[in-house]
Amino acid sequence: MRDTLIQLAYLLAAFLFLIALRALSKPDTARRGMQLAAFGMAVGIAATLLNARIISYEWILVGSLIGAVAGYPLGKWVPMTAMPQRIAFSHALGALAATVVGVGEYFNGLSAGELGSGHVIALGFEVLLGGLTVTGSLTAFAKLQEILPGRPLTFRGQNAFNLTILAIGVASLIWLVLDPTNVAVAGVMLAVSLTVGVLLVLPIGGADMPVVVSLLNSYAGLAAVATGFAIDNNILIIVGALDGLSGFILSVAMSKAMNRSFSNVLFGAFGSAAVAEAGASPSAGGEMVPISAEDAALRMAYAPKVVVVPGYGLAVAQAQHQARELADLIEKRGGDVRFAIHPVAGRMPGHMNVLLAEAGVPYDKLVDMEDINEKFAETDVALVVGANDVVNPAAKTNPKSPIYGMPVLKVAEAKSVIALKRGRGAGFSGVENDLFVDPKTSMLFGDAKQSLIALGREVKNA
């Protein structure tokens, strides 16, 4: 009876989680949906407390209290700019929970003498995936937080080394299935998975982090699925599947937006000298034409249609508030301002949308790449703020360019372009950008934040 009650509660929770995911497809329903999910979570936790295996509650209380006290600042105080590392850290926490449960259940099974091969396979996957997600996420966190250098850390024979280590991990899993009571092999497997996590993320550069964070999300989900199989719990299988899929879908979307394959991100050497040289020969040539803030502001102040294209540079300069203020000033004068969001504009999937929403830009002004690309032809001024590769027309026109084929914002179709740029250098991929030497493009050099402030001042006076 009690067990049935618990399972029914899990059924309700799973249903509410799915409703929440459906609600997330629209900004107006999303918040309500997540509140339902939180309720579902409460029901699930309350039901679990009725489990007959639970004898004492004191350590549950201790853990819950510490967790809740630690979770509060993670939810309330972390700034939106720090979202990528915040999410990476959460993946580490979730995976750590799965890993230690796996280890605990293994020793429980060991002392009870009931370790079937199916059970061991599930526990093995749980610990293997969980362990590598823990250290991988912590490494990603350290890189995003700039505790570790963001550039790729590589050494000779790295891929061969990583594959060997991974093979040892898989081999020890197989060994453990054949010989479940061999604690030494279990220890080796745990050590290997922890090592693989670090090795997997170290060689990946800062700009590729969106893919890695999504991928780790996926691994954390798979670890949860394995936990569900190990302890015969359907809701964990369901939630793990959702988590794993969501991470997988996001990493595929990110890879596509960066014109990279999965394996290229994980084992790649993008931006190496050879690749950069191949694309270094600009097809058009020509000079960048500088413009003063005053002239640029005048042009925008009288433009009926303005599209702002924020890039990574805007996030680095933390100039989203200034961008919003400029947009407000132009709108007050009668112009229509939209923001064109490339999928990899921020440091994680959808990051730029959150940053601009926080700055007070209404979400119907934030337009996804596919939708805004049709509108550039009728745009009077496109204002590019700290974006480079994502607006490079070479992705469409130059088959020799390393970014050829990458989906880009068709800024070059706008009637005129003003580009805010720190200096004259090439973008992250080391590729020259023809957009900046296009006759209809004017360059406003300087720090993005200062330039936006100057533009705002001049628009006000115009």
Partner: protein, 107 residues
Amino acid sequence: MNSTTLIQFFVLMLAGFVGFQSISRIPPLLHTPLMAATNAISGISLVASLVLAGSQDGPLATVLGTIAVTCAMANVVGGFLITDRMLAMFKRADGDKMKGAVGVAAK
């Protein structure tokens, strides 16, 4: 393979299918909240950690269980709070701004 495991594979397949359908419909606009949300929901691993922490299967299980409860609970509390905080920031443009825009554009 016993029947429980078989049913579990059915559950996995169906959840995967439904999940794929729902998640594919989420616009890039909400991808960061989606990640925070799945993080929060994955805190349901508490169903495993709570049992381990409270079952008194020896000190090792209790310690590991308590660590797991702490981590999962931090994700649940932090995850739902930050998702809500983010989603609260997504606002639609208000009507009077549009009216003003039309008026000035006429000049």
